[in-house]
Structures are given as C-alpha cells and as structure tokens.
C-alpha cells in the first residue's frame, strides 16, 4: 500500500468571534493516498471549505490552526510563507468553485498557465509556453495553440474551469484540493470536468481531496468519503459502503433527504432543527439535538469506532457493536 500523500491529524481551526470562540473544524483526521479521490461532503457551514483553506495555508491570520497537515511526510502547518509559496502550485494545488475568480481577466489564459510553470521551474519562456499548450490540450481545450492568447472571458465556464485545472496540474502536484469544482457548471459539463479530474488523478497519481455538497458527485468519483457535520468528521468509509450502509444518524438522514423518483409522490425525510451555534464549549456530539437515537452518553464526545471499513463517531453505533445481542 502506498504511503499517504496528504495526512491531516487532529486538524483544528478556531476563530475568535464576539462572545467566544467558534470551532469551525474540530479534530479532523484523514488521509489521501496517491491516485486516490477522497470526497468530503457536508452542508453549508460544516467546515469543509475551512478545512481546505487550512491545508493550503489560506486562512486569515486571526484563525487559530492546530494539529498537523503533512504533505509527503513534510509538516506544512506553521511553515514559513516562503516555504508555502514553494509548495503551493507545485506540490499542492487547489481549484475553486468559480474559475473566473482564479483567473486574471486581463491576462491571456495561456500565459497564466505558463506563469505557474515559470514560478516553480527553471525553464525558458518558450519551453513554458509549449508545456502550457500541452497542458491545455490535455485538459481538453480544443485548438489550444491558437487560443493560448485569448483572455478568460472568451471561454465558457466549463472551459475556464479546465484552464484552472491545467494551471493547477502544471507542476504535477502530489495533492490536488478541489473545492466544489463543478458546482457552478451545468450537468453535462459537470460530467466532463469530473471525468477529467478522475482521469488526471489516475494518470498522474495525484491525491485528490474533492469537497462537495453534492452526494451525487461524491458517489460518482470518490473512492473514500468523509462526512462532515458542524466542524467534525462524523463518518469515514469507502464509497460503496457509505452509500450502501451509512452508519451515523446524520449520514443516514442526509441520504434519506435526497430527492428520488422512487419516492414520488412520497415525502422526503427531513432533519428536524438546525445546525448548532458553534460558539463556545461543545463537549458532546454536535448532532445531539437533531438526532433520533440520542441517549445520555451523547453529552460526551463520541469515540470513533470501526464497523467493517467504516469509522464512525456515534455512541449509538458504539453501543450496538459492544452489545450485538441487543435487538434494536
């Protein structure tokens, strides 16, 4: 088995707000191996984007980040700005939801891809240009050579995202973090971009952390899935297992809330209540107030347990494992 390319250990991100401290990411541990796509799914405010930004070192100065982020064994949390600049765009790259915010509207798309190469490689401009054209063709820009000098606005959203991917992959990074990369795209274009990310990850052995709110996208491309709720990773499993036998009550509720034709005209399951306010001390399970199977232990932090290859943080599941004879 390959050594993991990206390892997060007890990653914690806190923000100071009036009235206390918000724990946006709470002791998250996960790893991504080369050539593997790990999906991270959760609803708005669950901390999945904060986690991505913490890995990239993109959080504001005021954020309190602790724990460990290791890329190919190198600890990068607390690395100097200089070292981070060396790593970003080179060993670790990131693509965002909206490709137009990642591209400079006044520069040609080709020069932006070439610039990423020149920033990290000691090669000539002409060589960088040739490599950029090669990359643009690889991500499916038709006629890459003649479109090298076109500005971003001459491209559609899907094509712009391909250019951002070309720039991200320019230096063959070990780790690619994709934060909602297809959310702004139409469904047929989404299928194209997802297949591109999967193919590139496979061919180049890139470790991909794919962040999405869309369980459909996760089901289609991820190998491993982590489910986040209110800053915590509540369940982690191989994709087949997560969808076939979800363990955490939140994961189960989320899957039951998905619209499907089979249910028509039936009602979709809803999760009562709302995500808790993350200010202050939250010692217990954060899903407690909305959970259908909560019990007295839930006021303490759940200890992760393993069910087959699933790791889940839930007292109810833990109980079932320790007392398999008790019928539920």
């Amino acid at each position: 088995m390959n050594a993991a390319a990206l390892v997060l250990t007890d990653l914690q991100v806190d923000f100071d707000v009036p009235g206390g401290r918000v724990s946006a990411v709470d002791r998250v541990t996960l790893s991504v191996r080369p050539g593997e796509v790990v999906g991270l799914v959760g609803e708005s405010g669950c901390g999945k984007s904060t986690l991505a930004n913490a890995v990239m070192g993109l959080l504001p100065q005021q954020a309190h980040v602790s724990g460990s982020v290791a890329v190919e064994g190198e600890e990068i949390l607390g690395a100097t700005d200089h070292r981070l600049r060396e790593l970003r765009g080179n060993r670790i790259a990131m693509i965002f939801q909206d490709p137009s915010t990642s591209l400079d509207p006044t520069c040609s798309v080709g020069s932006q891809v070439a610039e990423t190469i020149l920033a990290h490689r000691d090669i000539g401009k002409r060589q960088a240009r040739e490599r950029a054209i090669e990359l643009m063709s690889e991500v499916g820009i038709p006629d890459a050579r003649s479109r090298f000098s076109d500005p971003p606005h001459r491209f559609s959203g899907g094509m712009r995202q391909r250019i951002v991917i070309a720039a991200a992959l320019a230096n063959d990074p070990t780790v690619l973090i994709a934060d909602e990369p297809t959310t702004a795209l139409d469904v047929t274009i989404q299928a194209q971009v997802l297949s591109l990310i999967t193919r590139l990850s496979k061919n180049h052995g890139t470790a991909v952390l794919l962040i999405s709110h869309d369980l459909g996208v996760i089901a289609q491309v991820a190998h491993q899935v982590g489910v986040m709720y209110a800053g915590q990773l509540v369940e982690q499993a191989p994709v087949d297992q997560l969808f076939a036998s979800p363990q955490h009550p939140y994961t189960r509720a989320l899957l039951a809330a998905l619209p499907s034709a089979h249910l028509q005209p039936g009602r979709l399951a809803v999760i009562p209540g709302q995500v808790p306010d993350l200010v202050g001390d939250l010692p217990g399970c954060r899903f407690l107030d909305r959970c259908a199977v909560s019990r007295s232990e839930c006021i303490r932090r759940p200890v992760p347990v393993d069910v087959n290859s699933t790791r889940v943080s839930c007292w109810d599941v833990a109980d079932r494992i320790s007392n398999p004879t008790v019928a539920r």
Partner: protein, 322 residues
Amino acid sequence: MSPLLEIENITKTFAVPSGIFGRQRVSAVDGVSLEIEAGEVLGLVGESGSGKTTLARCVLGLTPINGGAIRFDGVDVSGLRRSGLREFRRRVQPVFQDPFASLDPRWTVGRSIREALDSYRIGSPLDRDKRVLELLDRVGLSDQYAGRLPRQLSGGQRQRVGIAAALAGGPELIVADEPVSALDVSVQAQVLNLVADLQRDLGVAVLFVAHDLSVVEHISQRVAVMYLGRIVEIGAAGEVFTAPQHPYSQALVEAIPYPDPARRSTHVPLSGEIPSPVNPPDGCRFNPRCPITIDICRSLRPTLELTSELHLAACHVNAPSS
C-alpha cells in the same frame, strides 16, 4: 375544458450590443408551446442559456413576448389592463431562487406577507393579520416568525416566507424559478415536501423551473426539456427520465450524478457545449453536438411528434413525423 395555462408558439428575442454601434438579435425562446393543467406540477429543465428562466418570466408577464400567445384560464394575457392584470397577478405568483432578493430587508416577515394581502385586498383589514399567521402556519413557521426580519432567518425559512407571500392571494399557478437551488439537501427536502403539500391540499399548479434533474424528477408529474430556446421533449416525468427519446434528453439523463456508486456512468455522455443563441445552428439546434445527426437535421427544424401516448419529442431520427 381549456387548460389553466396555454402557451402557444411564443418567441422572445433580446437585442444585444455587437461591435461598437451594432446590435444583434438573440433568440432566447423560439416557438415554444406548452400547456399546464390545473393542479399539476410541470417541471422545466435545461442548462444555462436554454431559455427556461426567460420562459418563466414571459409566463409571469415580467418579460413581454415578441410573438405567439399566452392564455390563462382561456383569456389572452397580453390584452389585460388594470383590474384584469391585477387579477392575473393574484392568480399567477412567482417564487424565486433567492428569497432574500424578493423580501424587503427592513420589513418584518409579517409585514411583507401583509403587504401582499393588502395589495390584493383579501378580506377585511382586521382579518389580514390573522391571515398572515395562517399563511406562516401553512408553510410550517410558527407565529413568532411574523416579527422577524429576513436577515434573522435561515435560507430555508426565507424560502418558506417567499412561498407564504406567494400564497397570500390564493394563486392557481405558482411559477417557481430554481426555488431550491440555493438550499442544502436537508432544507431542500423540507421545501420540496411543502411544494408537494400545496399541490395536494390547495390544488395549486406549479411551473417548476430547475437545473437539478433529480429534484425535477421527484416533484413533477410532467417534464419539459429545453435546449437553446426550444422544447425538445415533453412527457410524463416517469417516461422522460426512464425512456428519454431526444438525444439531448438522453445525454442529460445520463449525466445525472446519481447518489449511488453502483450506478457510476463510465463515459461522458455529451461533448462540446451549448452554442451561443446569437447564431443558433439551422435546423435542429442540437445537431452540432448530436451523435445521431442526419442531413435533414441541419436544414429542417423538427416538430414535436408523439412517441407514445402523451410523450412528445422533436427529433428527425427518433421521432420522425409521419
């Protein structure tokens, strides 16, 4: 009996600047016909630039049409003035994607809903306050929400308020443009359940415009698929999704990322992108991307033909005219 809403061959073109002084015509909706029966949910799907939002705005009377006719309850809406128009607006209500944009940020929720009641002069002024609470209850919000401001609500709650305001006048048709696109899955489920309830309990018809195919498949009885300003297929939701006839609908259905790893699609269903509506292709507008295109597709516009009972598709190959 005539259908509740009858759209007959409507077209809408916009002028866009081209060059320094020039203007070009963009055809956003091109010869669309469609009917909605009382109490049914018709899903309208299509990608960005397909014209689905323009069509919805035309139905609401927010965008004037260039040709064709829209009849509501048998009456041509283009001839409506003053009281007729007011009555039409009461009976046909919009729900938008971003409820924040349709609520006044300085008004309490109760006042926003009350405003709708006042403008349609529903009941006596005294009854209206009670009616506000009834409407809030109808969308699953307790009395206390009447005093809140929009910014104090979550996205799902705001969308409920938007729906409550739309219900104020007792509409017969709700035109909902991407009503759940901004919402999380668990909140989306609440709003979808609410829409289903309204249809069942109040008999409201809904034109449900969305890009999310799973949502449309779940909520609609019938589905229309738009591509570059035209309807390419229309039929019962079950049929359109399980046995799509038009090659574009087939690609669209195949591209749905099903939340089931056992149903992974192995190939990309469609290459290329939707062309610009400034210079749409001749004949069938899908022909440059179509895998089964034949000569006639490049010159002759296909008409919607029956492929089975109540299921129509506009395709020279899969649904040839007899």
